[in-house]
Homo-oligomer: 226 residues x 2
């Protein structure tokens, strides 16, 4: 028996959502690998992270194409239009998350065999890495369940990330505490920004899902000073 056309269409939209979930899951894995590279000065992990970003870039192209083709052939109604917008915005966020994880891996590789992160900031970066991976996983859950409470949780996690991010600057700008010079300080400031931006994009994915569900846009203020 042939499925009704509309039903087949919704199955295809579910398939898109499934691929998007797979893409975002990869960003968390990539950030996990990059954080390992950073904390352990692990060159193999750094290079593995850098190599696997291309798979995320390819996901974006393929998912976007699939979404647009679906849309072109089906003439979606209003709520379906939101699925498209939400999906295209989310692939763009996930693509940036992959790039940011690669930035982290590149700093690890650039300083190898030294550690880019000094001992006194190791715990903070371990916490930022853990938070980043968890936020990526929560973004996956939000996409899977469309649970807006989980989306709100992500905003809360982002506050925690911002707190960790700010704490880096307390260490860097404390004359009594920081004696590792300018180059190391710049590494830390940029690394902090990569994690913080990664988290912003995870929040943004949740915002995209909220838009999908409610039709409402809420602009997260992604412009952060340091």
């Amino acid at each position: 028996m042939t499925k009704p056309m509309r039903e087949a269409y919704h199955e295809q939209l579910d398939e898109v959502n499934g691929r998007l979930i797979g893409m975002i899951r990869k960003t968390g894995e990539l950030m996990g690998l990059a954080t390992k590279a950073l904390l352990e000065a692990d060159l193999d992990a750094a290079e593995q992270a850098m190599a696997s970003d291309s798979s995320i870039n390819r996901d974006q192209l393929e998912i976007d194409e699939q979404v647009l083709e679906l849309m072109a052939t089906q003439g979606p109604v209003a709520s379906e239009l939101r699925i498209v917008t939400s999906a295209l915005r989310s692939t763009s966020d996930a693509e940036r998350m992959g790039d940011l994880a690669v930035h982290v891996a590149k700093v690890a590789r650039m300083r190898y065999p030294d550690h880019a992160v000094p001992d006194e900031l190791r715990d903070t970066f371990a916490a930022m890495g853990k938070a980043a991976c968890e936020m990526s996983n929560k973004a996956v859950e939000v996409l899977r369940t469309r649970d807006l409470d989980a989306a709100a949780e992500l905003a809360h996690d982002d506050n925690e990330m911002d707190h960790l991010h700010r704490s880096l600057f307390h260490v860097l700008l404390d004359d009594d505490e920081w004696d590792r010079g300018v180059e190391a300080a710049i590494d830390i400031a940029l690394l902090g920004r990569y994690y913080e931006r990664f988290a912003d994009h995870a929040v943004h994915i949740a915002t995209n899902v909220r838009y999908l569900v409610t039709g409402e846009i809420e602009w997260a203020d992604s412009a952060a000073g340091h």
Copy 2:
């Protein structure tokens, strides 16, 4: 006489392109204002820049919506599908360009009444600001004309920006030259990144137009070390 439907549709696509051009033009103006705020420690300019970003964010929402509605009602053919993809990617790039200009303005405001940029780096930041605005203007030209030679020029301009960006680090990391401490160094490193990212997004807009014209994707390596 009623216009043929397809013709009306293409007029609407042109209108979308026109709005996108207006949006990207604003990013150049905003970066100009933010750079003025930075170089002259001009608080008014900083606050004006921060306030005008909301208009760019609104543009993104409205243009994206218009694109998707057009698409939903028209069932575009393949080459038109590329217009949609290219437009949605470009509004996302332009939105980030606005955010990055705001970041620059925020650093200026944070250090006011001091100058965030020390005298010896003033010329470099003036050059980065000028390059950023020119690249935004060139992205506008590429969108207006779909001239792929102009798109290729943007990649060349980006090399110039990368060169300026790297030159910052030569100053920051030269022990004999840099005596302004860690906080100022971090400001400079982050500011440099904002300009460099702004330029990357301008290049990306040109890449989106190339995709529109040729159907080919060329992944700019946006992952830069520092």
